[in-house]
């Protein structure tokens, strides 16, 4: 409203004030002010003084309030309805915004409750030695160090050690250096065999490494084990994911030396040492599965695969190496795998998940809670998973969770959306439990059910992917690609069964004046408890040939019997080692796990005693893998 020259300033101000106090729309306020100005002009014209006119008008606030109510009543019904709707919508939006902001703040400030100590649970799951001497680890440690497997061990870089590590075959260029190194370390190998005879591993995982472990694992690993314990109640630490298992790589290296020494013993006709090496390697593999870490299972399986291959190769090369009692002992060793190791056990994976959930979710005290989008916890978690999958950057992802930059604010404000979108704690754990159980069950399937492994994997991807990929964000990202471990379990059982069947056939031959059995059924029950099954067909395994032409074979993945041509066999390849462990995030975009590459579809020859090692020598890339173990 423009200045009104006919009205004193105090009355003009009063008109403006009343109009402003009405908080009406601009046009309505203008009408009010115009009418009041008219009123006061008339009052002045009637002889009232400005003060008198203002006093007679009354209280401006009351006038403004009454004017507002009356002006609103004057609006059209549609206008009033619309205004009311907008008002309530605005109020509702404000309430929702307030609630959202409050929930975001609640989620941000809600500190996760660490209700259980995962490291203690891991420790409790380990086999405990009844007597101090039952623990293999102190003896293994001594043996590993004596074998040059300590961290930064100078001997580890010697030519002999290098040759031995390459696990060459007899007759190769490196064989003399490797065997000379083995001879020089006979005492250490004896210590290794002594360790393997102990009933339990006895490495206190989940606790601080002993200072005596420092020369083997390094000071940094010992310190890391201390740090993990010191920070285990920090919600932004993931002690289960960061748990160091440095003994596994040493055990794998030691198992190669045992397998190599077994061949060396076979070459020199030392059947006792050959068996002792095979037995030690098998027991070492069982020890590595203490606590049932998935990676420990894969290492155990890889060790058994290697030692079975080398034992079979040696017996094919030296069919007369062992007498009947020794063969029976070797067969028992191959049949000695504990039942619980014959199938996958994902208890550690469940524990890992449960621990991650207690660090990323709120806790309602009854086993449930809401997902917290906590960048300070998620970034280290992503970094750890990427480093374990081999897909991440070298440096760990860390961040200051208290930063107030836009990303932090965006993360904070996204918290409620994430909380509503990502499955709650109970549903997530139930999902993980259900799928772990299904994967564990699948590990009991034989190799011929390979398609079921793939189907189960596809089913998981379908259930955890698509629209559920956010709902089950954590299982989808963190569940190991365990279907390959299921496959590895099936191959592991088949490999041991093949080795036992070969031992049984050799025992039959010794009892039958050098003649090989002609039917696998001949071996039952005198030499085997049951007819060995071809894992690819479900029928009895094939057996045929006289003398050097004798062979035992499976029809292989294609199910076609090619008469067990040992020269065509490529399936002795140890494809499934610990290095193949990957998280689902590392599976190729087309969904094809890397371990399921094209393989030759030929018979899998279990045993073909030709008196030489020709079929074990590297002739193609697959064979190259085989001899490197």
């Amino acid at each position: 409203m423009t200045a009104d020259p006919a009205l004193p300033a105090e009355l003009g101000t009063l008109c403006e004030r009343v109009a402003r106090l009405t908080r009406l729309r601009r046009a309505e306020r203008a009408d009010v002010e115009r009418e009041l100005r008219s009123h006061f002009r008339e009052a002045l014209a009637a002889g009232r003084s400005p003060d008198d006119a203002a006093a007679a008008f009354g209280d401006p606030k009351t006038a403004a309030r009454d004017l507002r109510a009356a002006a609103i009543a004057k609006r059209s019904p549609i206008d009033r309805t619309l205004t009311q709707t907008l008002k309530f919508t605005g109020l509702a939006a404000a309430a929702v915004t307030l609630a959202y902001g409050g929930f975001a703040a609640y989620l941000h400030l809600k500190v996760p409750v660490i209700s259980f100590d995962p490291l203690e649970r891991i420790h409790a799951s380990l086999a405990a030695p009844a007597m101090p001497d039952d623990a293999a680890w102190p003896v293994y440690r001594r043996a590993f160090l004596a074998l040059g497997l300590g961290i930064g061990d100078a001997e580890d870089r010697s030519a002999g050690a290098e040759a031995a590590r390459n696990a060459p075959l007899p007759g190769s260029e490196e064989w003399p250096a490797a065997t000379a190194w083995l001879d020089a370390h006979a005492d250490a190998l004896a210590t290794l065999r002594d360790a393997a005879r102990r009933p339990v591993l006895g490495l206190p995982l989940g606790r601080e490494f002993d200072a005596a472990d420092a020369p083997l694992f390094g000071d940094a690993a010992v310190q890391a084990s201390r740090d993990a314990i010191a920070t285990r109640n920090d919600p932004r630490q993931f002690p289960t994911l960061g748990l160091l298992l440095p003994h596994l790589s040493r055990a794998r290296a030691a198992s190669k030396l045992l397998a190599l020494d077994a061949m060396h013993a076979g070459e020199t006709g030392d059947g006792e040492r050959f068996i002792a090496d095979v037995e030690a390697a098998l027991r070492l593999s069982f020890h590595m599965q203490d606590g049932r870490f998935l990676i420990g299972d894969l290492v155990g399986i890889a060790i058994r695969s290697l030692v079975a291959q080398r034992a079979m190769a040696t017996l094919e090369w030296k069919p007369d190496l062992l007498d009947g009692a020794q063969l029976a002992r070797l067969q028992r060793a191959f049949e000695s795998m504990p039942d619980d190791l014959r199938r996958m056990n994902l208890s550690c994976e469940r524990l890992m998940f449960e621990d991650i959930l207690q660090r990323l979710y709120t806790d309602d005290g009854a086993g449930n809670g809401t997902f917290r989008l906590d960048r300070g916890a998620l970034l280290p978690l992503i970094g750890m998973v990427e480093s374990m999958s081999g897909t991440g950057a070298a440096s760990p992802r860390t961040d200051d969770p208290r930063r107030t930059d836009p990303v932090f604010v965006a993360t904070l404000l996204s918290g409620p959306v994430a909380a509503f979108t990502v499955a709650d704690r109970r549903d997530t754990m139930a999902f993980v439990d259900r799928w772990c159980a299904r994967f564990e069950e699948s590990s009991t399937l034989p190799l011929r059910d390979l398609s079921k492994f793939h189907a189960l994997s596809s089913e998981f991807e379908a259930e955890a992917g698509g629209r559920a990929s956010v709902r089950f964000l954590l299982p989808k990202s963190l569940m190991p690609a365990v279907e390959k471990a299921s496959l590895a379990c099936a191959r592991d059982r088949a490999t041991l069964a093949a080795a036992a069947a070969a031992c049984a056939a050799m025992r039959w031959r010794l009892d039958h004046a050098g003649a090989w059995p002609t039917r696998v059924e001949d071996l039952v029950p005198g030499y085997l408890a049951a007819v060995p099954e071809d894992p690819w067909s479900g029928t009895p395994v094939r057996m045929a040939g006289e003398g050097a032409a004798f062979r035992i074979w499976s029809v292989g993945e294609d199910g076609i019997d090619d008469a067990g041509d040992p020269d065509a066999d490529d399936l002795n390849v140890s494809e499934l080692g610990a290095s193949t462990l990957a998280f689902r995030g590392s599976i190729a975009a087309d969904g094809t796990p890397a371990y399921l590459g094209d393989r030759p579809k030929v018979d899998w020859v279990w045993f073909a005693p030709r008196g030489n090692l020709e079929r074990w020598k590297p002739r193609n890339p697959h064979r190259g893998d085989a001899v490197s173990g």
């Binding site: 006919a6 009343v18 009010v32 115009r34 009418e35 009041l36 008219s38 009123h39 002009r41 008339e42 009052a43 014209a45 009637a46 007679a56 008008f57 009354g58 209280d59 401006p60 009351t62 006038a63 009454d66 004017l67 109510a69 009356a70 002006a71 009543a73 004057k74 609006r75």
Partner: protein, 106 residues
């Protein structure tokens, strides 16, 4: 004597309407007429009048028009009874005791 409170809330609008039966009036004119014609009995607080007029407009009893300033007179808003209201005979319909009000207004 002045009539205030609840009574005024009911009497005021009727008194205004009664005044407007006689013709178009502007705000201050109504204030003065009420005070003059009732000997101060219905001396409205002046700030009360305009919300009352707005309410009467909202109910459809009164209409307003803005009269732009001319050389002869300043600008002002004129209020009058709507045609329908005038034809109905105001006091019989909106006031429970017309004789009493008529007495007040004489």
């Amino acid at each position: 004597m002045t009539i205030e409170g609840e009574f005024l809330r009911g009497a005021g609008p009727v008194a205004v309407l009664k005044l407007l039966e006689r013709g178009e009036m502007y705000g201050y004119e109504i204030v003065e007429a009420l005070e003059r014609r009732t000997d101060g009995v219905l001396a409205l607080g002046q700030s009360t009048l305009y919300p009352m007029l707005y309410n009467l407009e909202a109910k459809g009893f009164v209409a307003a028009r803005w009269d732009e300033e001319t050389a002869a007179r300043p600008p002002k808003t004129w209020h009058r009874l709507t045609t329908a209201m005038g034809a109905l005979g105001l006091t019989r319909h909106v006031w429970p005791n017309p004789p009493a009000l008529a007495e007040v207004l004489r």
